[in-house]
């Protein structure tokens, strides 16, 4: 899954760090670091972190949304 944290919103409560320590960490007192791409095995952890975030700053998606896009034109694949 793809992940982004709105770090304007983030206030360093660090709930995500406890719930998904492989994905989120604190660098120093309150600067959040995270892995922007996580595999399926971490889905439950990240979902728990999203739900627990007091400022709801975490956004995750499934790549399947891309399948709803128009197919790229054939020329795109041929030339590139």
């Amino acid at each position: 899954m793809r992940l982004v944290v709105d770090l304007n919103r983030c206030q360093g409560y660090a709930q995500c760090v406890f719930l998904a320590p492989d994905v989120f960490s604190l660098n120093g007192e309150e600067a959040l670091r995270y892995t922007p791409y996580v595999d399926d095995a971490r889905r439950e952890q990240v979902a728990a972190a999203m739900a627990a975030c007091p400022v709801q700053a975490i956004l995750m998606d499934d790549v399947v949304d891309d399948m709803m896009d128009d197919p790229l034109p054939a020329a795109f694949d041929v030339h590139h």
Binding site: M1, R2, L3, V4, D6, L7, N8, C10, Q11, G12, N27, G28, E29, E30, A31, L32, R33, Y34, T35, P36, Y37, L59, M60, D61, D65, D66, M68, D69, D70, L72, F76, H80
Partner: protein, 476 residues
């Protein structure tokens, strides 16, 4: 020949009819496939746009997040090609990637592409952003070992070279990007020299008082920081590899890797000659994100959002602000997209209060408002010496910005202060106020841009749709 009544009736109906048709089967083109373009597209679909949506971008990838590129990506905490932005919803877009827009015909409503194609539109959203300002000497910029950092490709190349263990890294420019790169280098244990033309790092964004703290952070973490110095030349060896940098103080530095971090240039060249009000400082637009043409008239079918936009902000004397902030790209794209498919009375102004963050040397730096407008700063909480504080910026007797180092919890409060044009210096006592926070001191911006005298403005309401502008008399 129709009667006056009939003409009046058809005229009255036309806007609604055409808007309904636009929403149902119109063609919306977004030029710029990054954060603002993606969030704009999502908002269009969210608000019921059912027509065709084309997104044009010159990079090969779907929209990806840039902030991690100067942070976790450089220290190996994330792969450069794995920062693709999550979607809020499906957008059913037609993507034209690896394709640059090269021109715009405002009359025929067509975007020209570098592959010779032309794409017609009913509404256009411009989100072409900015790019790194290149090193001014092209031959020197070509040397092997000279980098910029803006795209995921840049980050991938730079990250690989950092991992290879250069003898010494030179960072040219100590703005946020340069400072974050220096921080990553130290985290990797690499020797790094930072050369900054101004008196301190971050001086343009946060002023010299806070910049001095940034300088201390750098030096305490082992950065060889040289301020009030410029790099005058980059010298290569016979094989075209960087080997030395020459500085304005007459010294030279042996380096095999240099990162040019001299800020960004807005991507507006493709609009040259189009008749749109675009230039090196961005594309001017009104508070509703509608682009101005060169005559100063507002267009009604061309909208702008993100780093490339320059729009007036009522909270800051109606000065045109161009903000290369992550949060602005999101908020402005949402407003632009909403207004593109909404009738006049339902349109909204972009009243987002500027906010940004940076993390460097283990410290979380966040800001709200427009610090560079501040004449004075008051350290309202914590202390500069501890590198943990909240600083409040004032201009003409009102609060215009705040910055925190590892004190993010205070920012929401100061956002309210900014939005209500609260008096500066704050008349109340604050928690954790130290002796050095009793009086404001000059904020020490190198070239303070003072807002013009005029009415101050406050924002009220909570929901974005409820926000209205309320004028209050000038405090003088």
């Amino acid at each position: 020949m129709s009667t006056t009544d009939e003409r009046g009736a058809s005229r009255a109906h036309r806007p609604d009819d055409s808007l309904a048709r636009l929403r149902r089967e119109g063609r919306i083109v977004i030029v710029g496939a990054s954060l603002a373009g993606l969030r704009g597209a999502e908002t269009l679909r969210e608000e019921g746009f059912a027509g065709s949506l084309t997104i044009i971008g010159d990079e090969p990838d779907r929209p990806y997040d840039r902030p991690p590129l100067s942070k976790q990506v450089l220290v190996g905490g994330a792969a450069a090609d794995r920062t693709t932005l999550p979607r809020r919803r499906a957008i059913r877009a037609h993507w034209r990637l690896r394709t640059a827009a090269t021109g715009l015909d405002l009359t025929a409503r067509r975007v020209r592409l570098d592959d010779g194609d032309e794409v017609p539109y009913d509404r256009l959203l411009i989100t072409t952003g900015a790019r790194s300002r290149p090193w001014p000497q092209p031959a020197e910029a070509e040397l092997d070992g000279v980098f910029v950092l803006r795209t995921n490709r840049d980050a991938e190349r730079l990250g690989r070279r950092l991992m290879a263990g250069p003898r010494r890294v030179l960072v040219i420019g100590a703005g946020f990007t340069g400072s974050e790169i220096a921080s990553a280098c130290r985290e990797l244990g690499l020797p790094v020299t930072v050369v900054e033309r101004g008196p301190t790092p971050l001086v343009g964004a946060l002023g010299g008082v806070v910049g001095q703290v940034a300088a201390e952070l750098q030096r305490e973490h082992g950065v060889d920081l040289r301020c009030s110095v410029m790099v005058t030349a980059l010298e290569g060896d016979a094989a075209g590899r960087l080997r030395r940098a020459h500085l304005s103080d007459g010294t030279a530095l042996d380096v095999d890797l240099a990162v040019v971090a001299l800020g960004a240039v807005r991507n507006t060249e493709w609009l040259d000659g189009s008749g749109l009000g675009a230039g090196p400082r961005g594309v001017a637009c009104d508070a509703g994100c509608r682009a101005f043409d060169v005559r100063g008239l507002v267009t009604d079918d061309v909208f702008v959002a993100g780093d490339v936009a320059r729009s007036p902000h009522p909270l800051f004397g109606y000065q045109f602000l161009s903000l290369d902030h992550w949060g602005n790209a999101v908020a402005q794209a949402e407003v632009a997209a909403h207004n593109m498919i909404s009738p006049g009375p339902d349109r909204r102004p972009h009243l987002w209060v500027p906010a940004f963050w940076s993390s460097q040397f283990g410290v979380n730096i966040k800001s709200i408002g427009v610090p560079s407008m501040g004449e004075e700063i008051l350290i309202a909480q914590g202390s500069l010496a501890e590198h943990s504080f909240a600083g409040v910026y004032g201009c003409q007797g009102r609060v215009v910005a705040a910055v925190t180092f590892d004190q993010t919890k205070w920012l929401d409060f100061y956002q309210q202060q900014i939005e209500t044009a609260a008096p500066f210096p704050p008349p109340f006592r604050s928690v954790d106020r130290r002796p050095d926070g009793l009086h404001p001191v000059p904020a020490e911006f190198p070239d303070p841009s003072l807002p013009s005298h005029g009415p101050t403005v406050t924002l009220c309401g909570y929901s974005p749709t409820e926000r209205r502008i309320v004028f209050t008399p000038a405090r003088a």
